[in-house]
């Protein structure tokens, strides 16, 4: 029983950064913007979070710093694609490349330093209830944030007027503009929200998952988060399911390596990436479903006519 609980806990820890980053990107893409810089924002959040936590000794300040760094970094993308109408694919790529380089440079002095870890939730009496106590009341704080965030985004997108407006911009920015909606302003806020989420996801990596700084520690999670959004056909609860499936794959291959299964470790390590491809193929096979769900103006630059 204990082993099962522990495996479930590690799956949740592996799924949390994927979930947060993907939920952020989902909002961005629902507004019609494709930000391929998730990996870059995530790694910047990771280095910013680790640095602030390491220098101040407080993991909470670290987490806050991760969010702020991610949001500021995404602002760069927002100015380029929204104000200067640059190609979103190329700009997102350059955000990732810049983030990987910049984080490596900033993090040089952090390599090998002991980090600080966010403490798990511990409610006296409740968290020690067998099985349920640990799973529901004994996880790290970011786990609870990720679940709350998913619920909040679900409510925001499908139950509020502002969410409806955001989705309408994603489906047709020209019509939205004609109705007097401030397309660019909405998109700025969406992109910054996505950046804050990616930063938080990165902070989770360097403050909870492995409380230290390792170069390129995001290891493609930002890209997997992007794939999750497609997999989920832009629906928050499916992102939640997808993130946990991927968390399970990620943890599964680690456990398989530890148990000494006679398969080269490199093959097991490549499973999450191969799984991403397989899942993308399965979901995009159904062209009608994809067409119906993809925000219609996704990735197209918008320059308001005056």
């Amino acid at each position: 029983m204990d082993i099962t609980v522990n495996i479930l806990l590690t799956i949740a820890t592996a799924a949390t950064p994927l979930l947060i980053a993907a939920i952020g990107e989902l909002v961005v893409e629902r507004s019609g913007v494709l930000n391929l810089g998730v990996e870059g924002m995530m790694i910047m959040g990771a280095v910013g979070g680790f640095g602030a936590g390491y220098l101040t000794g407080s993991p909470w300040i670290g987490l806050l710093a991760a969010i702020i760094v991610g949001a500021l970094f995404s602002l760069l993308f927002a100015v380029m694609t929204l104000s200067l109408a640059t190609n979103q694919v190329a700009t997102g790529l350059s955000l990732t490349l810049l983030g990987l380089g910049l984080s490596g440079m900033i993090g040089t002095s952090f390599v090998g330093q002991p980090g600080v870890r966010l403490p798990n939730l511990d409610i006296p009496g409740v968290s020690s209830i067998p099985v349920v106590g640990k799973l529901i009341f004994g996880q790290d704080p970011v786990f609870y944030i990720s679940i709350a965030l998913t619920a909040a985004v679900m409510w925001f997108l499908f139950r509020t007027r502002t969410g409806l407006t955001l989705r309408s911009i994603g489906d047709s920015h020209t019509s939205a503009h004609a109705l007097g909606i401030k397309v660019i302003r909405y998109r700025y806020l969406a992109v910054i929200f996505g950046g804050a989420c990616a930063g938080l996801a990165g902070g989770h990596l360097s403050l909870v998952y492995t409380p230290q700084w390792v170069e390129n520690m995001s290891a493609g999670r930002g890209w997997i988060a992007l794939a999750l959004v497609v997999f989920a056909s832009w629906r928050p609860w499916r992102v939640l399911a997808g993130a946990y499936i991927f968390g399970a794959v990620w943890i599964g291959q680690l456990h398989a390596q530890a148990f000494g299964i006679p398969v080269p470790s490199q093959f097991l390590s490549s499973l999450p990436y191969l799984a991403t491809i397989v899942v993308l193929v399965l979901i995009s096979r159904n062209k009608r479903l994809t067409m119906m769900n993809t925000p219609a103006s996704l990735g197209q630059p918008f320059v308001p006519d005056r």
């Binding site: 104000s83 380089g101 440079m105 093959f267």
Partner: protein, 375 residues
Amino acid sequence: MMRIELVKRPQRSALFSVLSPFIAFALTIIAGGIMFALLGVNPLDAFNIYFIQPVSEVWQLHELAIKAAPLILIAVGLSVCYKANIWNIGAEGQFIFGAIFGSIIPVLFPQFEGPLVIPLMLLLGMVGGAFYASIPAFLKTRFSTNEILTSLMLVYVAQLFLDWLVRGPWRDPQGHGFPQTIQFSDSATLPQLMPDAGRANWGFVFALVAAVAIWLMMSRMLKGFEVRVLGSSPRAGRFAGFGFNRMVFFSFLLSGALAGLAGISEVSGAIGQLQPVISPGYGFTAIIVAFLGRLNPLGIVAAGLVLALTYLGGEAVQSALGISDKVARVFQGMLLFFVLGCDTLIHYRIRLIGMALMKPDAAKLDAAPKLEEAR
């Protein structure tokens, strides 16, 4: 509070088409200077070490050519993809698979020698790169799977596969347990151009030939026209009878083959064996090269040399000033940002508007009487 407003130019500005890479480079230098100052280094000293000293002697120019060759080869192929609006960003993986396929002969058949070895290796390298690129192309055409994500995921898979090969079945039994294959024999080594002057090998010549060939294709041949039409308007392309799926395969196979050629040239010419890591991110840096060269093969040659210099400069500041060589990555990322930003100038005029001027009430009051008159 200022606001940026874009005004569409009636036609693309010829002036800024030429100027924009230079403006971007100048802005990168300024931002880089600020970065060096923040790191506590005199920017002028740093620039001297970064951009001037690495290319002040002949043998160093050879090193520049070694670094530029894979960048140009890959970027020229990518430029065709990007012109067609097809996003192959997995060139790093295709580079690795080219290197692996090409190494089959020297690693598994080391007794096979003679003048045929190198051409066969190069051919196998191109086949390997094209094969690996055909996977995302197939998935895109058959299942309409997003090629950006699949080609990128395959990079991680390729890196792990190479890692397994050189630690497992292909490891040199006499290599004292180091994760590497046997050293390639002389007949499996790409010859140097001028062995007396420096290390530059035939890879650089391949890069120049590829650039000229693709330039001819894009500007003088029907295929190049097809690429441009499908890239700017898929609908118009369909009316002209150009197949989009065929174009996906064509551009992926072409760019994959060139990346594979770059991979085997690098391994056979510059490294001499397979190792767990054979590329300092050439496949990703080549994306920057392609855009800095404005997706024009001849511009890409110049851009490739510039980006090669950022690698050499990064190594130079690391040894001279003790700054992390990640500085190179930062320079490359900033350069791409500024290039993309400056390209806006080609299509748009940029106006800065103060908030005071655009109070909505004032605008409405102004417009209302005119509306009345119009009625």
